[in-house]
């Protein structure tokens, strides 16, 4: 089942809102900066969204205070997203809209903070006893509360594929008639758990990340919030942009290493194309997972070589934004969807030397080209993969 995409927006280090993101991509201006995250002395670069800590949650929602919800709120205020949701709720009724959010670590930054000042008894101080914050559904709770959507709401947390999988769940809900439309999205914010966690796995780079470069030295952690509104096609018959297909798979290999031949990635891309009833040659651009880790980038080219020919242009945008983990799916979906609108295909930033081990060419310069179909890949720890196909309407 194809769905209309009636609205989309993203906020990341590469720009707060869509116009700023487009500008960064067009001018090849990275949003990465030297690590200046409080209480973190790691020698690395990060994709930090300016001003998140100054965002004030709406009156009445102070009990949901966390960096993650501040970022969720900042993102929701861009590109008239709140107006689009309000108009949809007015038309369909708030109970006919679902909320499906993706996150890897939810509001754990707030939990980390609470642990630095526990009471002598071992309990959290009263101001940190926020049951609706210290759980994985915190972004779903916040987004439903602030938008007034009352339909089913769920948060998916499958590491770095989380907010790509929200499109699959929303499609099934709408196809089943559970809801008529869905607000999907993802929010992940910088926190010590991921900075020190990825550092413990020796996956964090001390320089700006260089996806698909021969000399790539690992990832930069980033943060982002993004949203899209999906509806049944008859509810938005004039919508130009469609979600055409999704594919989900597991790797059956290792908790933190991709399958060495990219088997899970091949399954997710193949299932997405199959559902979209499209041939690989019809895809003009793929926004890759491309984290700049040694293993991911190599294996992703293996998987691409199994499905595509080099008439399909592919790149990673993580050198603009950092790896935004549970928000990478929605952020890179927005970038992939927007290529259909702008015709600007972003070449991989910071990639100077191609790796002889690669089996598929990765574009390094921006290309202007009108395309009808784009894809995105998101692969996560636990060997959890999702691929999405977007297209311009053809009927």
């Amino acid at each position: 089942m194809r769905l209309s995409i009636t609205h989309y927006s993203a906020t990341s280090a590469a720009g707060t809102g869509l116009a700023a993101l487009r500008e960064s991509l067009a001018t090849r201006q990275s949003g990465l900066r030297r690590n200046d995250f409080p209480d973190c002395d790691l020698d690395t670069w990060i994709g930090r969204v300016p001003g998140v800590e100054d965002v004030v949650l709406p009156a009445g929602l102070e009990h949901l205070q966390s960096r993650n919800n501040q970022l969720a709120w900042l993102g929701l205020q861009q590109d008239s997203t709140l107006d689009a949701i309000a108009a949809l709720a007015e038309r369909l009724g708030p109970s006919r809209i679902g909320v499906v959010m993706g996150t890897s670590t939810s509001s754990i930054g707030r939990t980390e903070e609470a642990y630095t000042q526990l009471e002598a008894s071992g309990r959290m101080k009263p101001e940190y006893r926020q049951p609706e914050v210290h759980n994985l559904h915190s972004p779903g709770i916040f987004v439903a509360a602030v938008t007034g959507i009352t339909g089913p709401s769920l948060t998916i947390s499958t590491a770095c594929s989380s907010s790509a999988k929200v499109f699959a769940t929303a499609t099934r809900w709408i196809k089943h008639g559970l809801v008529d439309a869905a607000l999907v999205g993802g929010v992940d914010s910088l926190c010590l758990s991921v900075l020190y966690g990825f550092n413990s796995l020796e996956l964090v780079s001390s320089e700006q990340c260089r996806p698909f470069d021969r000399d790539r030295g690992g990832i930069n952690i980033g943060e982002a919030a993004g949203y899209a509104i999906l509806t049944r096609r008859d509810l938005a018959p004039d919508a130009e942009l469609l979600l055409a297909g999704y594919g989900e798979s597991s790797d059956a290999y290792h908790m933190s290493h991709p399958h060495p031949e990219g088997k899970g990635a091949i399954y997710s891309m193949s299932r997405a194309l199959e559902r979209a009833a499209m041939a690989p040659g019809e895809v003009g651009y793929v926004n890759l997972h491309g984290t700049a880790s040694k293993a991911n980038d190599k294996v992703e080219t293996y998987a691409l070589a199994e499905r595509f020919t080099d008439t399909t242009l592919v790149s990673s945008t993580k050198a603009w934004t950092g790896h935004t983990l549970g928000a990478a799916g929605i952020l890179e979906s927005v970038i992939a969807i927007d290529t259909l609108e702008t015709g600007l295909l972003p070449g991989t930033l910071n990639c100077e030397h191609t790796d002889p081990e690669f089996r598929f060419p990765v574009m390094t310069d921006n290309v202007e080209k009108t395309i009808d179909c784009s894809m995105t890949n998101s692969f996560g720890f636990g060997g959890n993969n999702a691929s999405l196909v977007f297209r311009r309407r053809d009927d």
Partner: protein
């Protein structure tokens, strides 16, 4: 109205080791004490290293597949828990509150919410889709709804796990889970099996619902937000048809009926 089949069940807590023991407990009041968690599917050496939350999930998933006589690499997964691995969250946050901040790489990669489906995929060789979800206090009902919709719309069996381990002290005020509980529902589209355990019918409708009361024998699970489908499991264990309403959020409820004769 959504119709589907329940073709397998698995469950574990410190007072019952599997579905048969759960049925005995419900019908006779005889429960065990301090049941060990020893999932056969995980090789013994790996078992020692695997987190409790992962072992609980693998145990009940394996039980449900065995009851359904279904190969474990042939089912999609919807894993759910309110808070994920509370012990690892406690470990990470404690370690990060100290100087220097040192965390174990293994504990970090096990901290992802999809650790259990990840281990399942690695252990069984399954390339099937796998999800891990939360809906705070509505996690168990939303997971069952998510898995049911997936089973029907993808025409595939889906293994739905709902579970919570016991919370450490610092997280007790926000996720007060005192006794671990885990259950797996193996769901399949209508017509999938000739001999389902039950036919399930769902209706999702606007309106509030109270959580159905837990019977006396389940008092220790009252604080475990992932044990709120116990009234449905108890009804199935007694061999009774069920017709129960549960909230899926503050404004929406799901009405679930289960008929055991397959009608």
């Amino acid at each position: 109205m959504t119709e589907l089949q329940l073709i397998g069940l698995g469950t574990w807590s410190p007072k019952h080791g599997n579905w048969a023991e759960f049925c005995t407990g419900v019908t006779t009041g005889d429960w065990r004490d301090d049941v060990m968690l020893q999932p056969d599917l995980i090789p013994p050496r790996e078992r020692r290293r695997a987190p409790q939350l992962v072992k609980m999930a693998i145990e009940v998933m394996d039980q449900a597949c065995k009851i359904a006589d279904l190969a474990p690499d042939d089912v999609a997964i919807v894993f759910s828990s309110v808070m994920g691995d509370l012990q690892i969250t406690d470990y990470m946050c404690t370690a990060l509150a100290q100087t220097p901040k040192l965390v174990s790489p293994t504990k970090f990669h096990n901290s992802v919410h999809n650790a259990a489906p990840g281990y399942w995929s690695i252990t069984t060789g399954a390339f099937c889709p796998a999800s891990a979800v939360s809906a705070y206090e509505f996690t168990s009902t939303m997971a069952l709804l998510e898995a049911s919709v997936q089973a029907v719309e993808e025409q595939t069996p889906v293994l739905c796990v709902t579970q919570e381990i016991a919370a450490p002290l610092a997280l007790m005020d926000t996720c007060p889970s005192e006794v671990p509980f885990s259950a797996a529902f193996l769901l399949a589209p209508a017509g999938y099996s000739d001999a389902p355990l039950a036919t399930l019918r769902f209706a999702v409708e606007p309106g509030e619902a109270e959580w159905p009361a837990l019977e006396e024998g389940f008092a220790e699970f009252a604080s475990n937000m992932s044990a709120r489908l116990l009234p449905l499991l108890a009804s199935l264990a007694r061999g009774d048809d069920a017709n129960l309403s549960f909230p899926v959020n503050a404004a929406t409820r799901i009405v679930i009926s289960a008929s055991l004769d397959g009608s």
